[in-house]
Point group: C2
Chain length 450, copies 2
């Protein structure tokens, strides 16, 4: 390709042409495939590479699909014909880490766990902990405004992002936000770019807030007969003015599968809840959590020992891998007002029956963010279609219960049609207006989100 | 005015013409005056009034200057010739308060303290606590993304806003955000409108997060010989992994003046710090705070009794009224990285000397947000000009130290020129592009912020 060979001289990083672009670089973990092959893959080595790539794409009428580790779950990084895939995972330096100001400046290719490890050397941590933290990059976490387990107490990714450096569609590098804990100078463009799923620009640097590692952490787990009592017990914890650092719920099926994968002696239960409390009040809060749980079940355990606590958490972490043993999975991501968690879980069970699908539900009881996992067995040709029907009804249920179609994974390609239903025509039009203003040519990730 | 008399039939609320508009409705607490008289003042009674007013203004080529209680400190609500002043303080219902989902839906004219009082009946509170909470409205708090004392632990206004209803320039009513704790469906327009200072639309409703009232609160105060040791002690608290719910600092002059106003026996000191800890770990955290302070001073007191604690806090609250006894005050609002607080306070003292001005500094040591107060004595004709010179140098110092020109009050009219200096031309252009996209005719608050 003449364009590429001419342009290649401008890049410090690697540039690959169509036949050499690995298939893996055109998809994310949703498995969604966009028709056709991307024209180019540029592995940026620095910010200048990003700016050159953006300008090249604009000149050659290619779209820009930014990717990091490719662990997205909504198809946001899927790329097809006419795309320039811009891989920024090579921008992976921790540029600065200030213990005094509790912040770090990082490039987008740094993994959250890598930052966390560096911060831990000075007693700090990066609070957002998406399940993918070890394998995803912070650029992708910011692009999707990723959540995690700890966000019930410590907030989601956007709560940790103080400022960004972004390459815009004309190749301009702009800086948003600040280094200070507070600041209100101008419109909050940091929050606008956070969660924009690659549709507004390329994030090339982020200033993120760090937080002290809690002085103490206690883990509490409980088995309940019914999902209703588990949800009621979770609500009781919050009503007791406890702020758990984690409050996770597994339904009966997820629990059974996770225990099976871990080969732990199966404890049959209608639902499983694992909570953590942390900080100076961890023990007092743990006692309050235990008391709340004990009102609804006799099967409660409190663990202060890290290894024993880890064993309890392992059950929650094993849920998804356990389900993936049974086939392809659709990982859904609705959020409902917390008071409606039990109703949502029940409704999902009914949807599974109605659509002859296998659905397991676990998620973040502390903030109402549920992950219904629809399993598509490999030997069932029609299961995929039935799963799509079930997914649609899950989204509709989320909206009906006053919730959202995506709590932390994003819209990407997969939920685009549902976004319109959630936002309504006027709000969607406003979203598009802003997108159009920032990226008039529709250079960045066209066809995603909107 | 024929326009008005014709239009008046459309409004449920009151409509006032030029000669009848009270001067107070054209200014905020900055005292800034915009030349000329507004054409109309509409006191909206409901959302339809707001929509009609916006459409009327667009039709008659008037600008729309929204106001609530008029307690802004940056001139954001100042209105002059060609303006339709839209007073939304009459939209003051608490529409919903859900204890289970820890949220409220409120109209913009509700005061934060009114919401707080209603929430307290179910054990909850609205965390943002700007100093003006009793007299300002939540609409204005959202428009300026107001901070407060508790935000060092509980976040600023934007952290509490889940969703908004906004009337746009064409009269469309759009809804942003959600009712759930988490959600990433589309661009984060809630954060875009929060802090937009009336330049993008009219906020007519907000869904805000509530939080449990902490089970316990402890107050710790200390007197230090030097502002450097006070700042070092504050830093030590944060390094000890304590998350104080409040960490306030007064310089020597502010302390002296506040004590004088309160007629408390003067304790001479170079600086005063008052902290609060709260929640299940309040006592343990208070002990840690005391230990940190004790490394730098022997004059530390810990109060668990609410009345005694209130007496300590009263000193902080008295600082501004005490200074207002001496003349007109310029209330500045810089924020610097926390590690630079002491340096900023020292620099401000030097600026006072250089500009022959009287400046007192107090502020939020926990997040680096400082309020240098420049006093302009009534009998000193030249003091105003000297104060402006000092203010400019304070802004320059904030930027030089890696900070911002406004931590929580906003840009409004007063800091417009400085916004360009803080953001730089490219980021400012992007801000204007977005403003232009959302409000193409420049209907809302023209001349403010940008």
């Amino acid at each position: 390709m003449t364009v590429a060979s001419h342009a290649a001289q401008s890049f410090t990083g690697a540039i690959l042409h169509t036949p050499d672009i690995p298939a893996g670089a055109t998809q994310d973990r949703s498995g969604h495939v966009v028709a056709g092959d991307p024209a180019l893959l540029i592995r940026a080595a620095d910010v200048d590479d990003v700016r050159h790539a953006v300008r090249l794409a604009a000149r050659e009428r290619l779209s820009v699909v930014v990717r990091g580790a490719g662990t997205g779950l909504a198809g946001g990084a899927a790329a097809g014909a006419g795309a320039l895939v811009l891989d920024v995972s090579g921008l992976n330096r921790i540029v600065e880490l200030s213990a005094d100001d509790e912040l770090a400046v990082v490039e987008p290719g740094v993994a959250a766990t890598t930052l966390d490890a560096a911060a831990s050397e000075v007693g700090l941590r990066y609070a957002p902990d998406p399940a993918s933290a070890a394998i995803s990059t912070i650029g992708g976490n910011i692009a999707t405004n990723a959540g995690g387990l700890r966000c019930v107490k410590y907030g989601v990714t956007s709560d940790a992002v103080l400022g960004l450096s972004v390459v815009l569609a004309d190749g301009t590098l702009v800086h948003t936000g600040r280094r200070t804990a507070k600041g209100v100078a101008g419109l909050d463009l940091t929050s606008l770019f956070t969660g924009s799923e690659g549709t507004l620009g390329v994030i090339v640097s982020a200033t993120v807030r760090l937080q002290p590692i809690p002085v103490r952490t206690v883990t509490i787990a409980a088995y309940f007969d019914e999902v209703e009592t588990a949800a009621a017990a979770s609500a009781a914890v919050l009503a007791a003015r406890v702020r758990p650092a984690m409050l996770e719920l597994l339904d009966a099926g997820s629990l059974r599968e996770a225990q099976d994968l871990l080969r732990v002696r199966g404890r049959d239960a209608g639902a499983f809840v694992v909570a953590q409390t942390d900080g100076f009040g961890a023990d007092a809060e743990a006692a309050a959590v235990r008391a709340c749980f004990a009102r609804f079940t006799s099967r409660v355990s409190v663990e202060e020992d890290p290894a024993a606590a880890e064993a309890l958490l392992a059950v929650r972490r094993a849920a998804l891998p356990a389900l993936e043993r049974h086939g392809r999975v659709l990982i859904e991501d609705i959020a409902v007002p917390r008071s409606r968690i039990a109703r949502a879980v029940r409704r999902i069970s009914a949807i599974a029956r109605d659509h002859d699908s296998t659905i397991f539900t676990f998620g973040h009881a502390g903030d109402g963010n549920l992950h219904p996992i629809i399993v598509i067995p490999p030997d069932d040709d029609d299961a995929g279609a039935r799963a799509q029907g079930a997914a649609a009804e899950i989204f509709a249920t989320a909206l009906e219960l006053g919730g959202t179609i995506t709590g932390e994974h994003g819209v990407g390609l997969l939920k685009r049609d549902w976004l319109a239903r959630e936002l309504g025509p006027d709000a969607l039009r406003l979203q598009r207006t802003i997108r159009q203003a920032v990226d008039p040519g529709g250079l960045f990730n066209p066809g995603k989100v909107f």
